[in-house]
Amino acid sequence: MAPYESDDMTTASEVDEPRSRRRRAARYVVPVTVMGVAAATIGLVPAIADSGDPDLPEITAAQLIEKIAQSDVERLSGTVKITTDLGLPDLGGLESSLASGATEPGEGGSSADPSAKLTELASGTHTLRVATDGPDRQKLSLLENAAEYSLIHNGKDVWGYDSASNAVYHGTVDESAADREQQPPATPEDFAEEALKAVDDTTSVTVDGTARVAGRDAYKLVVKPRQSGSTVGAISIAVDHKTGMPLKFTLTPASGGAAVVDVGFTKVSFDRPAASTFDFTPPKGAEVTEDGELDHGREHSGKPENAPKSQEDLAKGLDGLKMLGEGWNSVATFDTGGEGGLPTGEAGGDLGGFLGSLGDQVKGEFGTGTVFSTRLVNALITEDGKVYVGAVTKDALVKAADAGK
């Protein structure tokens, strides 16, 4: 700036007009340059960070799966970013008002109830923090705007703390492992385990180079269905080359587009987390809901009205469940028993019309029905009350229904 100091003293009239105008314009080069440099830096930094896949020794798919199975990471802490895009109809405010109604205290729920809270992960992008120290101490935190929901397992206590409403949920477990399995999957490891369960001869598993995830070198394992008709395009799992722990899980649909599920560590450390991480004492004045009270409340209000409802319904439905087909194209079917099934068209009045508008009418040897589609799962509800659900295309679903008839 110093060279311009003397200019400040001269008035514009001393210099002839066009020259001074050019000089004035020249000064705006500075802010424009600053803006350009800033924009370029913001744009380039991720690109630079992404480039350069690490060099790792060759490994076969079988060896890599073995590595995952043998992985015994006892201690870790890290940040997980989870993005889910199931392509469900966006209900926006309706959804949240239903959720708040479901978690209204007094109706038997609590905003700190883990099952209600973790179902939020089913849509949108969320940041989670996980910390583990052996089988007895785990912590999972859901980072929200200026608030956080923490689920802490320490010994036989399970605490849920919702800082936004200052509500505490408390439960106890006998078997530490049993409780974890009931929770919805949240970390890349959970998802990878589920995916590798499905590996059989209908699946192709390959190692597709390497990647850097959360600053660690990793192998990329790609799992693909061999058969056509599945809505699953590919599952890609990044596996840490040292510990064998899955660091990133991506499920892309066959129809293309953004990933349906994308879970990955953005930061990870295999050091022992601070012991204080797992200590929890309910803050003064916080409302504490005991696990038992919650169940009591639910029974009290008759049928379960809150979020776990869907799970319980699902469990009920699973009684009469039959699997058709094999591998990735397997379709689950059960009979709702209700003759007439879903009210469709004019028969169901306004509601039927609304539900019908969400799905597509299909006809086949099985009769007629309505197909409800998401990006991953399609469901066919026939007029005689049968339900076919699977991660398969609409045509495959109709074919399965025809075969099952």
Partner: protein, 287 residues
């Protein structure tokens, strides 16, 4: 040449003297004092409201209201965070916008700008001094809110160890340290607005117009930040990461958005600071 040398010789003293006189002029104004008074009143209002609301033992909030409000009854220190969360979206930037918008345009409309330029300080230096004064105001305004909240919190609610939003416990001293850090982060969050206001102030010779434009931008930008269709634009809006100061209350602290906020404010300061310089040093001062 001799004139330039003379400028350089007295420059450090001049800059400091100019800065001091600017500070005094700014903080002696009734308008500034009134703004600070309003800011100090917000925590009092929030504190008293929460106290009355929870007088019968019921818990506050229930999810609604500004961040941290449900924790205020258990620990008065949370009133500092609540007050900052309540004032950061509007009251604080509005006060900064008024002071920044008035910085040069006010002088121009009062006809005092040319007298300031008669002093051998140079326009760049005058601009820097003005910007430093506005930043000092950012800090003072934030501290006024924080201290007022701390006082009200200590009077109306119990103090002691506090629970972070991650559920871990920290001592009261550490809580105080974090409160101070949060106040500093909030003050830094206002730097972008300050630079923007100063740039607007160089564009016009009417103090009212500059203030109105700045405050108008302050209302518009958070609205843009709410429109989901514009999400590609959101990370570049100065208010987008403002509430990230709450991440300092996590354990361990979540730095991602905090660093993004600081970086974004630095970019705003650089872009609009240099734009203000480009405009002001080349401008015809007629009043």
């Amino acid at each position: 040449m001799s004139r330039a040398e003379a400028v350089r010789k007295v420059s450090p003293l001049w800059t400091f003297g100019l800065f001091r006189s600017e500070l005094l002029t700014t903080f002696r104004r009734w308008r500034t004092l009134a703004l600070l008074g309003v800011l100090a009143a917000v925590p009092v209002l929030v504190g008293v409201a929460v106290r009355i609301e929870t007088g019968d033992g019921s818990s506050a909030g229930g999810g609604g209201g500004p961040a941290f409000i449900s924790q205020v009854t258990n620990n008065g220190l949370f009133l500092v965070f609540t007050a900052l969360a309540a004032t950061l979206p509007f009251f604080l930037p509005m006060a900064v916008g008024v002071v920044a918008g008035d910085a040069l345009a006010g002088e121009a409309s009062a006809g005092t700008l040319r007298y300031l330029l008669v002093a051998p300080a140079g326009r760049s230096r005058l601009l820097l001094t003005k910007y430093a004064t506005v930043m000092a105001f950012c800090l003072v305004a934030t501290l006024v809110v924080a201290l007022s909240a701390l006082t009200v919190g200590a009077v109306l609610f119990p103090l002691g160890d506090l629970t972070t939003i991650s559920g871990t416990r920290i001592s009261f001293t550490e809580g105080l340290a974090r409160a101070l850090l949060i106040a500093l982060v909030v003050a830094v969050s206002l730097i972008g607005v300050a630079a923007l206001g100063l740039f607007v102030s160089t564009l016009t010779s009417s103090g009212i117009a500059a203030m109105a434009t700045t405050v108008g931008l302050l209302i518009t930008v958070p609205i843009l930040d709410q429109i989901p269709q514009l999400h590609a634009l959101h990370p570049y809006l100065f208010s987008h990461y403002w509430l990230s100061f709450a991440d300092l209350m996590r354990e361990p602290v979540h730095w991602d958005d905090l660093t993004k906020n600081l970086g974004l404010q630095a970019v705003y300061a650089a872009v609009f600071g240099s734009a203000a310089w480009a405009r002001f040093t080349a401008k015809d001062i007629t009043a």
